[in-house]
Symmetry: C2
């Protein structure tokens, strides 16, 4: 019953996405000039994604083989295994492959529609605001529904198949067979976000530095040879990358919550049975709650309409409010139905905490990145004394911006834990924090629609600009573009917040999993053991090294683009005069090649390090005769995971908010403050904006994925450290 409902709603979500695609595609595609530009973007983006997916799939196949070999041949069987070694190896590998394929597909679909929505948004802008807003939001929503529905369908489907085959006699152990799904999704997401993030910012930085700063031509000027690469970058970085990111967030969270639900059922079997609640109901509660969230998001999306007079942000906020209210109602129904009339209330409140946390994160992100408030203003003010003080102020703002989010997360974890502990069920504290995460991710489809809305409107603006449309139309797309910038920043705040909550859920799941395989494990990750302390240090330093590699990769790739643009300007003076057309393809090609080359090392790092640490410390522990006060490999990896997560969250907040604040400090000066455009403070603020680019669009978002990848890889490999 529960399973059919989930599968049904997932399929409904996919059908809705197909409906949205048809709705977008039947719209007007504007003038031939517009189509020409849009086609250039389309072919660049598709070429990049094809090549990127090929690279990722090679890596994924190699990893799948390694996982299979490790499980089937290296690992010793354990009496607590959920299934026979052969079955365990088979299903773990299969679910990894399926997770990877679905993640690739979700990212690809999102982008496929986005690069077709941009031109329709541009064409719609020639008529009125509603005709521009709807294709942008609905195009973005395709990505949202594909991602959320497919991740749900994948997890529920795998669960159903494994359940039907009966390979695991103990139903509560089924989630352990499909943890590979989350890891497959994370693995793809990390490379998609890294590759896309490097591409987009290398193109952006390259285009800006030679175009705006050296040649003095405006943004999106068709004379800039890197302009198409820049527009392609918005799609591959923001649509495809973020899509893969949120695909894995929801997939990993679904599985993690099921593992915790299994633990809850084991600890409270008698109570649940007395209430007439089934094991399947409790296990599938997280998926049902997610399914109801999809329905809420559908209604929210369809409700968005606007007029030329209204601020488009208002229309989007209206849709979000409708989605949130419906999601809360759905959450109430799901918890009342599946968790029993006596115990559901505290968990419902946990879900509300999740919704409130999402809201708080959005508010804090606004405070730190919008120029109405003190932080961005302080950066603009510091620009008066040059680029150095602009940078110092921006770094200080970025570091400061970690404070409130951490307090909010701390309050959410503690209060959800206590609500769970006092729900009347045994050992329900961690499940309470898991439910808060579900509440936060309930509106994920709508949020993701708003997020992908950003690059679509950005592209539409570029198309309108490059096809030299009249000012009235440019004004419409400019307004939409600025709304898109806001939604992109807000959804980034939401993404970190949910990553932070989900991380706590995921490593609770890790502990539960280790306990299943090794019932003697106390569940303690004791920081006071030198091995665990060392593991924690390594987790923390991993974040720094990864960020360094990601940032450096952008620098190197941008450098290649800059050199190409300079060369084109030099060899063909007609470009600057407007008499000759630059060769856009060269920059697209260079960006593609550099991004794919540069993503491999930072992408493999978070895969290799936890494994190496786990294996090394397992060996050390066994070699010294498993001393009582020693730490097992699983415990050391636990420290790595937890402290790596904490530092990852802080670093992501620092990078995202710092980058966003620099960006808007520049925009604030462009409104006329401190001398306005072309003044010295403006030049200083452009330096800050450029520094912030790889922070907020490459390293920061990749860290969200890294945090969850650390969790999913340890979930998959935990049996090997034991």
């Amino acid at each position: 019953m529960e399973l059919s409902l989930i599968l049904g709603i997932s399929i409904l979500g996919l059908l809705f996405a197909v409906y949205l695609i048809r709705d977008v595609l039947r719209r007007d595609t504007g003038t031939p000039k517009m189509r020409e530009i849009s086609d250039a973007i389309k072919s660049g983006a598709e070429a990049f994604l094809r090549r990127q997916n090929r690279t990722i799939l090679y890596l994924a196949v190699a990893l799948a083989a390694i996982i299979y070999i490790l499980y089937a041949f290296v690992r010793a069987a354990n009496e607590h295994d959920p299934a026979s070694p052969a079955q365990l190896a088979l299903w773990t590998t299969l679910s990894f492959v399926l997770g990877a394929l679905c993640s690739v597909a979700a990212g690809y679909m999102g982008m496929w529609v986005a690069i077709r929505s941009n031109i329709r948004t541009a064409a719609g802008a020639t008529r009125d605001m509603n005709s521009a807003l709807q294709p942008a939001l609905r195009g973005g929503a395709v990505s949202g529904f594909f991602v959320v529905a497919m991740s749900l369908l994948g997890v529920a489907g795998l669960f159903g198949v494994v359940h039907a085959t009966g390979v695991s006699p103990d139903v509560t152990k089924i989630p352990l067979l499909i943890v590979g799904y989350g890891f497959g999704a994370s693995f793809v997401a990390l490379f998609a976000q890294l590759g896309g993030g490097i591409y987009t910012k290398a193109a952006d930085v390259g285009a800006d530095l030679v175009g705006k700063v050296e040649a003095g031509i405006p943004e999106d000027d068709p004379r800039n040879p890197a302009v198409i690469a820049d527009l392609v970058g918005d799609n591959v970085g923001d649509c495809a990358g973020r899509g893969a990111d949120l695909f894995e967030s929801t997939a990993a969270e679904n599985i993690g919550a099921m593992i915790l639900a299994a633990g809850l059922y084991r600890a409270n079997t008698a109570v649940f049975e007395a209430q007439g609640l089934t094991i399947l109901g409790v296990l599938l509660f997280p998926l049902v709650a997610r399914a109801f969230g999809i329905i809420a998001s559908m209604i929210g999306i369809l409700a968005v309409k606007t007029t030329d007079q209204e601020d488009p942000m208002k229309a989007l906020n209206r849709g979000y409010a409708i989605t949130s209210v419906l999601a809360i109602i759905g959450f109430f129904v799901a918890s009342r139905w599946l968790l029993g009339s006596e115990y559901y209330l505290n968990f419902f409140f946990c879900g509300m905490i999740g919704v409130l946390t999402a809201f708080a994160f959005v508010l804090i992100t606004q405070y730190y990145t919008e120029y109405r408030y003190r932080p961005v203003k302080s950066i603009a003010e510091a620009s008066q004394t040059g680029p150095a003080t602009n940078i110092i102020a921006g770094i200080a703002v970025g570091m400061e911006s970690t404070g409130y989010p951490i307090l909010v997360i701390a309050a959410a974890i503690i209060s959800a834990y206590f609500l769970g502990e006092h729900s009347g069920l045994q050992h329900a504290g961690l499940f309470g924090t898991a439910v808060a995460t579900m509440g936060m991710l309930g509106t994920a489809a709508y949020i993701l629609a708003m997020d992908t809305f950003g690059p679509i409107t950005d592209n539409a603006g570029g198309i309108v600009e490059m096809s030299q449309q009249p000012k009235e139309i440019r004004d419409r797309t400019d307004r939409l573009d600025s709304v898109g910038n806001t939604t992109k920043a807000l959804t980034k705040g939401y993404a970190v917040g949910s990553a932070a909550l989900a991380a706590f859920l995921l490593f609770s799941a890790y502990i539960d999993e280790v306990k299943v395989y090794m019932p003697s494990f106390s569940g303690v990750i004791n920081l006071n053991k030198p091995e665990v302390f060392v593991g924690s240090m390594l987790g923390a330093v991993l974040v720094f090294i990864f960020s360094s590699l990601a940032i450096k990769a952008v620098g190197r790739a941008a450098y290649s683009i800059i050199n190409n643009v300079r060369e084109q300007f030099k060899n063909n003076p007609g470009i600057m005069l407007g008499t000759a057309k630059p060769d856009y393809g060269q920059c697209v090609d260079i960006a593609t090649k550099s991004a794919l080359r540069e993503m491999v090392i930072p992408g493999l790092l978070p895969v290799v390090v936890p494994v190496a640490v786990g294996v090394l410390f397992k060996w050390l522990y066994n070699a010294s005769g498993q001393p009582v006060n020693g730490a097992s490999g699983a415990e050391v990896v636990g420290g790595l995971l937890m402290v790596g997560t904490i530092v990852g969250i802080l670093m992501a907040l620092f990078l995202n908010n710092g980058g966003g604040a620099w960006d808007n400090a520049k925009k604030f000066i462009e409104t006329g403050a401190y001398g306005g455009k072309r003044s010295d403070p403006h030049k200083a603020s452009v330096v800050g904006d450029t520094v912030g680019d790889p922070f907020k669009d490459t390293a920061g978002p990749s860290l969200h994925v890294l945090i969850k990848l650390l969790s999913t890889i340890t979930l998959v490999l935990a049996p090997l450290f034991i």
Copy 2:
């Protein structure tokens, strides 16, 4: 016997410092013009330090009163207390006050001599290199010996007095009565380093931005109204600040190591007694090892001589090698004597690990901050495409530079722990890591001499420049200045390394202390409890907020100086023409006032946060009926302390090395690379250098102190969280 030896050597160290003072003071003070400049520096530095010490002492007196009240009236007596509540309150408060006073005195003495050595170094440079090198190194050594000898004298003296009064019948609990000494020292050190760091970089950034960048006059040009403030800053930031920092390092480490030695003795009483080893001998082993290190440093300092032909760095390295070899011999003697013939060898090897760790840190720091190597070169190369890419490259280098040091620390902790575990004694693993820390800090006096050497030669260079000496003399001070830059960078690497090792020692001491007061405490800091996870997040975010505040403080203070300099240039055009003298006093005064105002909030933050967290979670734990799976206040604070330390070390490495690399990338371009001085890449590199200033000289070094302050404050307040 052991105690008299330690007290004797401490006093010998102080007498040696007095001998060095006399040696420096009897030297030639150069021309009247030189004296005029030196006097201006002297009066500025002394005025700042007087006002700063007044502010710090007010804060310290208030804190002493709070500590006394908390211990005497708020805290409930405990059967495991080392002494009666009244005695415990008295000695904790007294040792706090004494630690604070000694730290102030050590910082003041170091600076008092430094501002008298600079002129003598300048005057010596008019004759030959040796006459310049000796007063600089010996002046620096005064600081080194005062700091190390006074911290040893204070700890040993307090121990002796408490022992003699007999307030604690159990000798192994005496260290718990004097933990306040380390906290007093840390408290003063934090404000001294913060205030001095803000002063020096505000003056430096201010002087550079208006002088070098806007007005286009060289560094140390007498026309720049901020030039004297800049020279004063070197003294108050580097001499007084670093002196207080290392004072507290050695004091905290002495006490922490004694607490662990007490634990070791309790666990192995029978074995030690069978070997004829006394409790006093084991307890005082850390102090004896330190005392022998003082003698080694003395001989090393006296051995340094050079000629005009030799590279002065070589002479310093020769002295360091002599000191290291003697310190190792002393360590061997101390461990053989006090830890027994059967068990000493593994601990001696732990000490060697400490020496090797120090050496590795120096090498890694060189690699990341000298322009002979790839990292700095990559920043210089990135300067070709402007300030934005220079900044991006520098941040990437700073983040990358955290990798090897963490691997080294990890290897040191694990190997020293295993050597201790396999020494044949029970529970000796943590003591092994403590012994490695002692090994690392054995040469502290010599290292500190090299460190203070930096600002002295920097000042000497400024005096020679401003008094317009001939080129030959300027060349000598320039060579010394560049050696001083190197030693400053290296000693910063040494300081973080020792902070990292000492931190692990200190929180092992914290756990041991909590166990004494609450024998039921398991010693486990379980990251998997939500409270501990939240505490850890708060520890990590504390580092980010603190760094943000420190960096912002420099920005704000520099802004005031820039405005004053611009005003002076505008109101008195004669300054730029060289016909009128600028008013140096105004800038000195502004720097003083801003630094003192700005240091208070960041300085109080790391004091308030751990206390607030400890009290809040103690209340929460008690309010929910002390659940078995809940976390006590002591455990939550343990998480805060450990993760705060890990993040603090990483952030300090990032800030120090990033700043150092930017600085030398600029210097590399000044050697003629990429167009040399006044080229566009040079301008870009100046931006990076300016951004790096508050990183490497304010926030970074203050974080070293913060790490240890977190440890010492938790040591002092642990009894309150129980």
